[in-house]
Symmetry: C2
């Protein structure tokens, strides 16, 4: 190859290991079959004019020597590498993981491999990753984050390269952003509590600077309104995304002389767990005295909460799969843009009281 050498120099002593793992090439197959390279290509691709006997003989020989097509060469030829780069700002964290799982599963079915890069919210590192991925001739890029808030658009010097944001969004109106429907999920949770007969449904949530906090609060308010219930400022408490905040918020809700809630919809599962613990320590029962619904369906929390936590699942793995499907459509030339929100699901366990009712 010609061109500027960006890659590190070859360490000495490599040759023997390299030779040992040299893969058989189309030249080896042609030599053994005593035919031309063109004939091998036709035989293996099943095209061109060739006798059935030659085709069978060449294919058998290729299998015998362990010939494997070289994707690098195919990629150069076609201008498509069948690789995709993921840039995560979630440090391989709990939101990025299920998204990656769905994305990789979807793309693997189409024999597209995924490069995983961690940009740790460092714009300079992100730019280096992008440069590296473009040099690898990826067919598309996926950006994901630890929170779904807006970020500056990914800087790429290359127009037309498909880029998709998942659990992440940007102001660029031409960008395609896939997000969970936070508002819809919150509406579903609150409506569920209202339908179970709860009348004083409080909301304890995370920091207001998160878009998700604002959307979930809107969903809670809308569901209360639609059920003919009141949302007061006192019944909505914003704090941290932690169990400790859940415990503190519960104390605040039960401190004054005003009526106490008979249900609490929580902005995440950690807050919900803190509330469940604080209720028990007050001698109150969930769901009998106060019903609880969380948000995230983070199993290590939801399944360890006493009682088992009813919660909203953002379906992040499905979000990842949808990202894979849409990215493939974009690679195929389809234009896609705008922010799309995918539905959440309600996971009913014990803390909401639905199973009490069912008895």
């Amino acid at each position: 190859m010609t061109g500027q050498d960006e890659a590190p120099p070859a360490p000495s002593g490599r040759r023997s290991a390299r030779d040992e793992r040299r893969q058989p090439t189309i030249h080896d197959v042609a030599r053994l079959a005593k035919v031309s390279i063109g004939t091998v290509s036709k035989a293996l691709n099943g095209n061109g004019r060739l006798s059935a006997e030659t085709r069978a003989r060449v294919s058998a020989l290729a299998r015998q020597v362990g010939f494997r097509p070289n994707h690098l060469a195919q990629s150069l030829h076609r201008g498509q590498s069948f690789t995709v780069g993921v840039i995560s700002n979630d440090n391989f964290g709990r939101f990025a993981m299920p998204i990656m799982e769905g994305l990789e599963e979807c793309l693997a079915e189409q024999r597209i491999s995924v490069f995983m890069c961690n940009a740790t919210d460092d714009p300079a590192l992100e730019a280096r990753h992008v440069e590296q991925l473009l040099a690898k001739r990826v067919d598309g890029l996926v950006v994901t984050g630890r929170r779904a808030d807006r970020r500056p658009p990914l800087q790429t010097p290359l127009g037309g390269l498909p880029i998709l944001y998942v659990f992440s969004q940007t102001d660029d109106p031409d960008a395609l952003c896939l997000l969970p429907d936070d508002r819809g999920g919150a509406f579903m949770a609150t409506e569920h509590l209202a339908k179970l007969g709860r009348r004083r449904i409080a909301h304890v949530t995370g920091p207001e600077r998160f878009e998700a906090v604002r959307l979930r609060r809107d969903g809670w308010r809308a569901a209360l309104k639609s059920a003919g219930l009141a949302a007061t400022d006192q019944s909505c408490l914003a704090g941290a995304w932690s169990e400790a905040w859940g415990r503190e918020a519960l104390d605040r809700l039960f401190a004054g002389k005003r009526p106490t809630p008979d249900a609490i919809f929580c902005g995440n599962d950690q807050i919900a767990r803190g509330i469940a613990d604080a209720l028990r320590e007050r001698g109150l029962k969930a769901p009998q005295d106060v019903a609880i619904v969380g948000f995230d369906n983070w199993l290590v929390i939801a399944e360890a909460t006493r009682p088992l936590l009813t919660t909203i699942d953002m379906n992040l793995k499905e979000l990842g799969r949808e990202a894979g499907r849409r990215l493939m459509a974009m690679i195929a030339g389809e234009k896609q843009s705008g922010a799309h929100r995918l539905p959440c699901s309600l996971i009913v366990r014990e803390s909401c009281g639905a199973r009490l009712k069912a008895r």
Copy 2:
């Protein structure tokens, strides 16, 4: 390219998007600079005999048109792709992710990109991933799992390809396996409790079929012996990796008339949290009545436990970095084999009582 076409057929309508994102090639630079391709190559690689003026002019033009070396072409030429494949059987889970983070960070510094594949413990899917990665001409493979127990060696038809197991191991004596030092970590935890003056140190742990359970128990026993303390069968309880098991085990330890423990070393953080909750619910105090040390330093558990959990950290990110360094050495031709165990660290918080002593 010639050869068997394994990749999916090109969808129609792609050409326009493809053309739009066509990257400038060395041919474009040569045409614009009115020199040969060989001259461009010499100018950009800084080698060959060329006037300083030509070198500067060609480099400036290459920058101007946004020329980027094509790694695919370089890889074909050199027989090294500067890519590595990771096969995870942890579904992008909590053990694989910090390992990936360290590995990717280490390799990214060397401009090596990482393909991430999820094999979900399915041997057929694992084999398809390996085949796919070999076709992509990866320079090496990393295998990781959700538990460090032995697994069958990765089946690859290619001798000499560097393969490394991290948080995973295999019987093949030629394989390189990197693991946390479970026994050493358990010794450290128990020794810490003994040095703080605890005399009846129980061990509550996970299922015995896990090698980690057996190694951690050995470490606990060895530390007790070295401190002149007794390990009895009654003071070691194996169960599930859950908070519920932690609570149940605490009840068992306090059920009989025999002396109750003044410290408990737990096989993981979830068990430790269950024990801390059950102690509080019995009206007992940690660490005053019973000191607790966990294992994993899984922050969502350790930092939510009351009191904050002292625990063992397996340093999985560092394990991933070490895997990256060793894999690069293997790619460079160095032979490496055997199981290597990297040290764990003790993270002192409040549950062990060290901070009480310090006051």
